[in-house]
Amino acid sequence: MGCPRTVCEVKETGRNNSVATKTGKNQMMKRLVTSLMAMTLAGAVHAENRLDIVVQPEPPSLMLGLVSNGPTQLVAGDIYESLLRYDTDLNPMPSLASEWEISDDALTYTFKLREDVTWHDGEPFTAEDVVFSVDKFLRETHARLRVSLEHVESVTAPDAHTVVFKLKQPFGPFIGVFEAGTMPMIPKHIYEGTDYKTNPANNTPIGTGPFKFEAWEKGSYIHLVKNEDYYLDGKPAIDDVYYRVIPDAASRAVAFENGDVDVLPGGSVENWDVKRLIEMDGVCSTGHGWEYFAPHAMAWMNNREGPTSSKAFRKAVMYATDREFVKDVIWNGYGKVATSPVSSKTNFYSDDTVMYDYDPDKARELLAESGYDGETVRILPLPYGETWQRWAEAMKQNLEEVGVNVQVVATDVAGWNQKQAEWDFDIAFTYLYQYGDPALGVARSYLASNIAKGSPWNNVAGYENPKVDDLFAKAAVAATPEERQALYTEIQQILVDDVPVAWQLEIEFPTIYRCNVKDLVTTAIGVNDGMRDAYLED
């Protein structure tokens, strides 16, 4: 299969040869040391058929039904599974469900489950587990799924291998929630009737996935082993997976260079190191595997007061900022300039909107039109490291060049949260996940009903437009994808013209790995569930 959709190229430049030889030696030593260490640590290990992956930061827990932050999803995505998986275009693919059917009125979702699936402890996986997971366990513990479950009237199991979801009204995004991090399957026989949060089984997670939990050396590594009874023939192909905890970004880059680790999931090294690492011999990278999350970087503009309350001023900001430059220089060419509140990777994106190209002259005209009087505009950078700081500096410079007085506010994470939650900003950087559907990841930032002080995750800009509210409400429950597309296109046209938010970049966090690791990223959640199909080529 090679690597479809991924950038698989071996860079061979004379310039790097001497370095490569040196690294090669180092690499062999390190590998020797690592495998010796692994043998003493974990007993007999097939060192040649193991994969070392960086996990950053160390996850608080691996119980995916209780904790769903990024690192947990990365590791536990190999242990737990859901009914479906999604390809990089967000089309559903079979997983625990082999077939599924949506009724014509879009109210009944019927899933046929595979009959040969067992839990890691040998118990068979049945429809009862699905009903328990969704209706009992996750409804209680999973805030993000609960929002979607509001639309569900009942979950039933007519037989041991059939599950039926009945909805109160059509809810288009529903087909997108059967992802492992959103709806992991939880074993009923272990959790029923217990206090989920304190169940001792949380420390030794039991799922249906291709890998079983083996050991967790806190602060060092998490060791998963192949599930010998996995229901797909010949899978997984890898025997051992070590998720390595390395707290410092520079050390993670070095660990990869030395051959200590084979995979750097997106975001585990600084942007500036990315370029150097992917230019090494035998190193591949891909920007795929984030489509389900589609991180959308944007800058809230305060729609309530100050210069940014003027639409002409907000448009001027869009024309004044050179977002291509940001992409090329600050993000090393990764990502795509965002043209709309919906990411182009998410369903129902439309490019039939106003386009804001870099045009300082137009920005100056709009600025004059807005009646801007030289007031200082405060930019709140995202305090997530150098990349975001440089980004705020670039925006400041862009705006000053068209005549806006800008002050970058110094902040830390707590201050950033607070200033956004209290609406104490003119322009504030952030990035948000889209979760595959505008109803799940986009609407929340623009609905008037979602304006509330105290949270940095709602409609922080304070945008209010009853028409948009109405369209979002209709679009979420429209019966067919065509109707939804029409409504979302209209929403995007209105929003892009109103520019309540300065959309910046569809971020891509490149996954960096050795080229002999094949089929690592084949789905919309990438490395999270990538171990199922990954294999090592000699």
């Binding site: 190191d273 150098e386 440089r390 670039a394 400041k396 410079q397 970058v408 506010v409």
Partner: protein, 279 residues
């Protein structure tokens, strides 16, 4: 005065230091003429090595900003912070130390316990806390540096005043009917000036280092291009572009070294007997 320069110039290091400082001051003063554009302006491709493209002798940084322009404008910030914070520290430390030394007793006890309170907290830690509490801007950073640097001044001045206040000229002044304040500020302090001047020159150096360290940690004023900021911002790319941290680093080193050399020269010039004894 002539003697002063003669003694000062006998110290070769001090002359070199003075020369470097004058260059830095000239660069700082003429920065807006040399580089009229904002040092934040993105002018060329990023990561240009020094001397690789005409017009950018020191190369460009991570965003394509001219490093030479940053260095020139940064010199202004470093010198201003160094001078102003030292001045503020002197304004706090000198009167406090003078009063403590002159009046003794309870005043002395009170003032010195207060000073010790500040001395027991590590300088840099206190500066970080102060800057973090007040939002980091140029005035707050300057103030924070001043607040952590005055205690040694107070102690030095106190010691000087303690020894001077028993001299005959003070008795003479008192007999002449001068008020305490006139004696203290008109007669004692002028005689304590030389060690204060030497210390002040070293404090400017320390203040520049403190400002750089704060900016390095990301606690600088994000709107002002300073040397510490340049190093801090280049820290993550040190493997790809070492010169981005190296060049402003050398600038800090040279300036601080220059100030230290000058301090030594001043010491020689102002305390001739002490200096000769030392050799």
């Amino acid at each position: 005065m002539k003697d002063f320069f003669k003694r000062f110039s006998r110290n070769r290091g001090a002359l070199i230091g003075l020369f470097i400082l004058v260059v830095v001051i000239l660069v700082a003063v003429f920065a807006p003429l040399l580089y009229p554009d904002s040092p934040w302006k993105m002018v060329q491709r990023p990561f240009l090595a020094p001397f690789s493209v005409d017009g950018f002798p020191l190369g460009t940084d991570t965003l394509g900003r001219d490093v030479a322009a940053g260095l020139a404008h940064g010199a202004r910030v470093s010198l201003i912070v160094g001078l102003v914070s030292t001045l503020v520290a002197l304004l706090i430390g000198v009167p406090l130390g003078a009063l403590a030394g002159f009046y003794g007793g309870l005043v002395d006890d009170g003032a010195m316990r207060f000073t010790e309170f500040f001395q027991t907290i590590p300088n840099f830690a206190l500066a970080i806390v102060l800057v973090a509490i007040m939002e980091p801007t140029l005035p707050t950073i300057t103030l924070a540096i001043a607040i952590v640097s005055w205690p040694p001044v107070a102690r030095l001045v106190r010691a000087e005043v303690l020894s001077l206040r028993r001299r005959e000229f003070v008795d003479a002044a008192r007999l002449a009917g001068l008020s305490n304040m006139r004696i203290l500020f008109g007669h004692i302090l002028p005689n304590a000036m030389s060690p204060i001047i030497v210390m002040a020159s070293l404090m400017v150096a320390t203040a520049i280092l403190l400002e750089s360290s704060l900016s390095f940690l990301g606690l600088g004023d994000p709107n002002i291009m300073s040397w510490g900021y340049m190093i801090g911002a280049a820290r993550t790319v040190i493997r790809n572009a070492w010169w981005l941290s190296f060049i402003p680093g050398v600038a800090i080193l040279m300036t601080v070294l220059a100030l230290n050399l000058i301090g030594e020269g001043l010491n020689d010039a102002l305390n001739p007997r002490l200096a000769r004894k030392g050799r």
